[in-house]
């Protein structure tokens, strides 16, 4: 009994000790807020990073640094922004931003939400279009290093899906394969639906 209690206490202490505690004052978050918006909800072409999965943020930051993610906007802005980012800093930024509340962009075409939802949940088997739900979850919450999609801006999702069809960012397997099966109308519908997904 005592041993169990001790073990539990140790576990609790270990859990608390592991919690990333880099205070906001130490992290230069203004460098990210510059483009991603003051609450990291996204601004212009820069996507929302608030509430994004920490593993995904960390992975992407390191991919920008390695130049593995090479779509034009990443090359123009993120390569320079991450050139001097240490892996520890990437981890800390990821922990910080994943904990922020996220607002859905809701800037897609409302009339396409139904058809977008259909593709999201069921795919289009006749055309070998996979459903998004199996990896990204029923509410776009993502998993581990698979990004959260729910509420991401229409313009951003649309842009990403189109970039994969053009051959950019080939390291983001399996998205290039997924995108290659989508028609333009599919992309519009999916991006619209996702922007409303909470």
């Amino acid at each position: 009994m005592k041993r169990k209690r001790a073990a539990l206490t140790l576990l609790a202490v270990a859990a608390l000790a592991e919690a990333p505690a880099l205070a906001q004052e130490q992290l230069p978050v203004r460098n990210c807020a510059w483009c991603h918006g003051p609450s990291a909800q996204g601004s212009g072409a820069a996507p929302r990073i608030a509430g994004q999965r920490a593993s995904y943020i960390e992975k992407e930051l390191l991919e920008f640094r390695e130049h593995a993610r090479d779509n034009p906007a990443s090359k123009q802005y993120m390569w320079g922004a991450t050139a001097r980012l240490s892996p520890q800093a990437a981890h800390d930024f990821a922990q910080y931003y994943s904990a922020l509340p996220a607002q859905p962009a809701e800037d897609g075409d409302g009339s396409l939400v139904e058809s977008g939802k259909l593709i999201y949940e069921q795919g289009v088997p006749d055309a070998n279009v996979v459903s998004c739900i199996v990896c990204h979850g029923p509410r776009g919450e993502g998993f581990d290093a698979i990004p959260r999609l729910g509420g991401m801006s229409y313009a951003y999702i649309k842009g990403r899906l189109e970039q994969w069809t053009k051959g950019y960012d080939a390291s983001a397997h399996p998205m290039p394969i997924v995108s290659s099966k989508l028609s333009a109308a599919d992309i519009e519908a999916l991006a619209s639906y996702v922007s409303f997904l909470k």
Binding site: V124, D126, A127, V134, P174, I177, K181
Partner: protein
């Protein structure tokens, strides 16, 4: 066996090419036919069929028993096994494509994904090889084979994704054994899974996850 399988695959490919709707493919991009369907499966189930951990765990198909895959696909189609995504995927498959797919995946052999907790692999191995007599749990190896590679309609378990095995053993009755059909042997697992504790399930799944 292999030559016959190859021949079947070729036949399937030709048939599939002939029957695929060209219009859809043009609109959506990607090649028509069997190759496209294989790629489609592999988008979720891993580039070499090794499985993929998304929000849901997509199980390993590589090296799987063809009869088992076929049974499961039919179970999805007939809703004896309840899975909305797989129903959508499977119900558009023609019988020849279906058969060709099973052969294709059976021949793949990538290393296991692993990614499972390692603490209880020993316990898992013990249960796999000897069962749990006191819990009325038979040794898995008795049906699934000592190397967990399965036979005929009994599935291969070696290298299966940890979360998938856990989910399957925990929620067996919810998803399977719904119809009690003659070819569907899933009812046989009901008692076994019912008698396993979560810790034991985790141990078995860990052991299997690393098994080549």
């Amino acid at each position: 066996m292999k030559v016959v399988g190859l021949g079947l695959a070729l036949q399937a490919a030709v048939l599939a090419l002939a029957t695929t709707t060209a219009g859809l493919a043009e609109e959506r991009g990607g090649r028509p036919g069997f190759e496209a369907k294989v790629e489609y499966c592999k988008t979720c189930h891993g580039l070499s069929g090794e499985g993929y951990r998304g929000y849901y765990a997509m199980p390993r198909l590589a090296g799987q028993q063809p009869k088992y895959i076929e049974n499961q696909l039919r179970a999805f189609i007939e809703r004896r096994r309840v899975n909305p995504v797989m129903f959508n995927v499977a119900h558009v498959l023609t019988p020849t494509t279906l058969a060709a797919l099973t052969t294709h995946f059976h021949e793949l052999n990538p290393p296991p994904l692993g990614a499972a907790p390692r603490e209880n692999i020993g316990l898992g191995r013990t249960i796999f090889e000897q069962g749990l007599p006191e819990s009325n749990v038979a040794a898995c190896s008795a049906c699934h084979g000592p190397d967990a590679k399965g036979h005929e309609e009994i599935p291969r378990l070696a290298g299966q994704l940890y979360p998938y095995t856990v989910k399957s053993l925990t929620y067996w009755s919810k998803e399977r054994g719904q119809g009690g059909q003659r070819d569907d042997t899933s009812a046989i697992m009901v008692v076994t899974t019912h008698n396993l504790t979560p810790a034991q399930i985790s141990a078995i799944a860990s052991y299997l996850a690393y098994l080549r």
